[in-house]
Assembly symmetry: D2
Homo-oligomer: 339 residues x 4
């Protein structure tokens, strides 16, 4: 059977999450997120970030970005993001669809710098242009890089100095946490709002939006419903987080994913492969030639990231909570046989 | 333990749906609805409606209404609905949020008539008013009534004669199918688009949008993503329908729910209670006095629908796939003891 | 030549307004409303309302309603209006187009009462419904009635007690001011925002939006531009108000219009005609039979307001700044000849 | 008195336009663009473009862009424009405000090339990204350059080959027509929709939107009203075009503006000044040092376009229908005295 390194959302859910569903199947719960599973999941998250933030369980990443950004910005306000940012490229205009421009910056290694922000602010100076009001970052980024704690604090301070909100998209947060020096507490302290990605880290769905800044938490429930994002069975959206966040499972999933991905990367380096960038998380971007790409395609699934020439094709290999070292070894052995 | 007649979305999912999740937990699936579970669920639905319609699995009812209506209407076009319609009352302005007016009509017993439609059309005659372009109905309706096959055909013909789309919200479709003379095939034939509600009929989430009219199916996937409604794990949205629609399970759930609700209703009638309306589905609306309401609240959960006076309080009792006759008997016995 | 009583926007502008354009044709002005004409017009308005409000010159009524409402409300917030309200009926969904529901009330004689407001608030109690946040009234109303000062104060107090904004559409404000006991100062004191209609009271275009509540005036310029409502030649939008508001011209136009309309009404009453409602402003609604309607159509322009039967047709007669008593006498004499 | 080269919208209107207003002041016209002035203006435009296109008179450029783009695109569809394009930079997010992404390309000398378009299309290949559906160009561009007839035809053919609409923003069309080889007929033939700018070419306001492609003209009036852009006094919006388009006035205004600007440019070149780009229309962009900029500011109004260093400041000088050669000579003489 072909193993897929195509993405981290190909399997239903971590076994413990599924087991929880089975365990609770005879319950009757209150609707719309007012149930005990939601309460538990919120409690676990608050304990980890050490802050009494406002927490809401949404279904997916594009939805979370759309609801968060649209509920906070006024009609003429805009969000600053990397030109590679998910909201700018891969959400079919969901942010613009609710009325807001994405102001793009080049960024550095997939990340926004304080200089990027200052430049945008210097240009957007009057009412004939949109007003920048929020900075959107992803951790891990689209290319698997991560922000350091210092970088996060610098961004946050720059935002506060300039009356901007800092929003962190954590679709792949588990992997970022396990790879860097930012911890849960930092997320509570140095962002206005962020979310903990469930879909790509062991949940069957779900992103837990955490609003640290009370000024923007006001009546968020209305926004969730208004944008079609409220689950009647709120507990279905909360249970993955009840399981993932109770103890250390979320972090451990990220850690394992990273180990597999970095093992793959180091072995591929030994085999002579170059990489598009130095990812430290669960996505790696080796460069192969056309023959190797076609050879690989016979036994494995993966994504072609960028086609530069027949000799230089960037592919993306992603590990997930289901990836084990033997999957990596299968891939590596297969590549060795084909070299 | 208190039993809840509050709604039909208090339990996670039908045991067979959950079992399927467990059975498939080791799979790796393609993302975004291009997987086999989605294919299977679509196949089963097409077989039932005997039509090669376009099918998409969304998460919830408000989202389905929002995406369907917004993807079809041009900016100035409006949707006709009952003033009690879910889109008009209980979706926090999701339809208006995407730019479209709900033109309300009084309706008859929760249902829209062709006369309602004709009256709206006669009034909306020029470019200074919105242009009616779609009729939205729910089956079952908000108050548990259902459309007959003849009524559906009349509405559909009226729509076609007047260049309107007919959209049927099937959040409680299982119950409607089991209670009336409309079958799956009629839904494929006499609506432009409808959806099969999963959330309230045994799924852990999900509404299957079925677009019969190819003219409006065009690039619907773009709309799904644009409105934040696309699941990365599309298979998670499809599996409930794979199970519910494979054989007869969906219909059987509706049938059982109805039986329980109608049993409750007939027994309550014998006990002397009057009703707000003659529901034939899984929601019933008995009228109680204040004492009875408070007495009931001690042991059962239910919703107060309308407070007319201390002597006339309409409550709503809803049965679900978990309701058994003994739950009904418990309620009835408790009421008898309290009379 | 046929004289038109069809509306109050059939002639270009009051002669003094046109003269001002001619007088200023050799000037070079700053763009975007930062010019002296805008400054003057604002000064005159502030003097009249005795308040240092924020003032912006927009082009038309629908635009003013759209920009004001959309700049103030958050996505899920809604505006309460009469079911006959202009925003609800005759703006092709412009308010919904920017995302906001119009919650309609029956009203009394075209006017909203505090009871209407309280009822709406009692119903809209949770996040599953839109949140009422603004009350929209027109003075004069769509059917020519007006609010008394007491009614305005009651509405305003009710709004303040319930955390609602009060917005007064003054498309026909001149006529309302001249007919009732509300003066400019009251408008500054007892509304959060209102506008002074230019289009229907002697200007070639223009509505002067006056924001009394500083909390909602913030960055309104951004909204004006964002909704496509900012004039490069801001002075073209301001000049009508510079002329109309400098001395008493605006009020005098309303007074004359009313006198003509009320003269018509009283003479028609003497001739035996009944009316749809007791308008006191520049629109009157006599009831004619089919013969009279057809007879009138040969020599005069007017609008058919409501067709009840061949014996009861409500027509609308509107006077404007161009209407003189002899126009009215021509109409009256013609009617007498035809009776 | 200081003369302003700041922009081309500082004076009310061309004398002939104002005269027309005076001449018509005693008329009563039908509302909403169904009057004779609108008919005349449409007739003159159709004669010039030799096509029976759909024509609508809007108030300003941002509004025209917003209404045209939003009425044509479906929610997930996007418009391709130059990164310097007016819709991308200077409309406070009006296009995104109605839900549509601006996909930017670098362009060449302010202009989009067919290669730019093809590159965008090659990237936007699936439903996870917006769908490019329209190309937006300005003629003249933001930096005063113009498209040649060949370039226009190439763009149009590229659009047709790829199922895209071509939309030409003619805010400064008079100047572009007078400077290049594109004529009115080409605009009717090689665009799907364009507009004739009135505001910056002698009108007191107004942009005449011309829809050549009947497929997108459908129910445009509804859109105009829906977006708050319909004038009750439609004739006020049409009269400028009735005057400007009757004979050759519009073109002559552009010609004169260009002559003045190009006279200025050639004289400035003789005086040793360099330019940011080779504009051929009524906007020129000389580069001055800080001393010269400050010296000039004492007697003339102009815009600072880009501050590169104290030695290199790009300023913008704009001529308008009021500019005469002696204004230019005054400027030139003043500069000579200051060198």
């Amino acid at each position: 059977m072909i193993y897929s390194f195509k993405n981290d959302y190909s399997s239903i859910a971590h076994p413990l999450v599924l087991q929880k569903l089975m365990d609770c199947q005879n319950e009757q719960n209150v609707g719309y997120g007012l149930d005990e599973h939601s309460d538990n999941a919120k409690k676990y998250i608050k304990e980890k970030i050490k802050k009494d933030s406002d927490i809401h369980f949404l279904v997916g990443g594009t939805q979370a970005n759309m609801v968060v950004i649209s509920s906070i910005l006024r009609p003429y306000e805009a969000v600053i993001c990397c030109d590679s940012g998910h909201i700018n490229v891969h959400e079919t205009g969901a942010i613009e669809g609710q009325g807001h421009k994405c102001i793009t910056v080049k960024g550095d290694n997939g990340k926004i710098t304080t200089n990027d922000i200052k430049l945008v602010l210097s240009i957007h100076s009057d009412c004939h242009m949109v007003k920048p009001k929020m900075v959107y970052i992803s951790n891990a980024t689209e290319i698997g890089t991560i922000y350091s704690k210092k970088e996060l604090i610098d961004l946050y301070n720059c935002c506060k100095d300039n009356n901007l909100y800092l929003f962190l998209d954590g679709a792949r947060l588990a992997s970022a946490l396990a790879a860097g020096d930012i911890d849960y507490e930092d997320l509570g302290r140095y962002t206005d709002v962020f979310y903990i990605g469930g879909t790509k880290n062991g949940g069957y769905l779900g992103e837990a939006v955490v609003i640290n800044n009370k000024a923007i938490a006001n009546e968020f429930d209305y926004c969730v419903k208004h944008f079609g994002a409220m689950l009647a069975k709120g507990f279905v959206g909360a249970i993955p987080f009840e399981v993932l966040m109770k103890d250390d499972l979320y972090y451990q999933i990220g850690k394992k994913e990273n180990e597999c991905a970095q093992y793959l990367a180091s072995e591929l380096r030994l085999l002579g492969f170059k990489f598009m960038c130095d990812s430290v998380t669960n996505q790696i971007f080796p460069i192969v030639n056309k023959n190797m790409m076609e050879y690989l395609s016979k036994e494995f699934l993966f994504e072609v990231w960028e086609y530069r020439s027949d000799d230089e094709i960037v592919i993306r290999l992603v590990t997930s909570f289901t990836t084990r070292q033997y999957h990596c070894d299968q891939l590596l052995n297969y590549i060795k046989s084909g070299q």
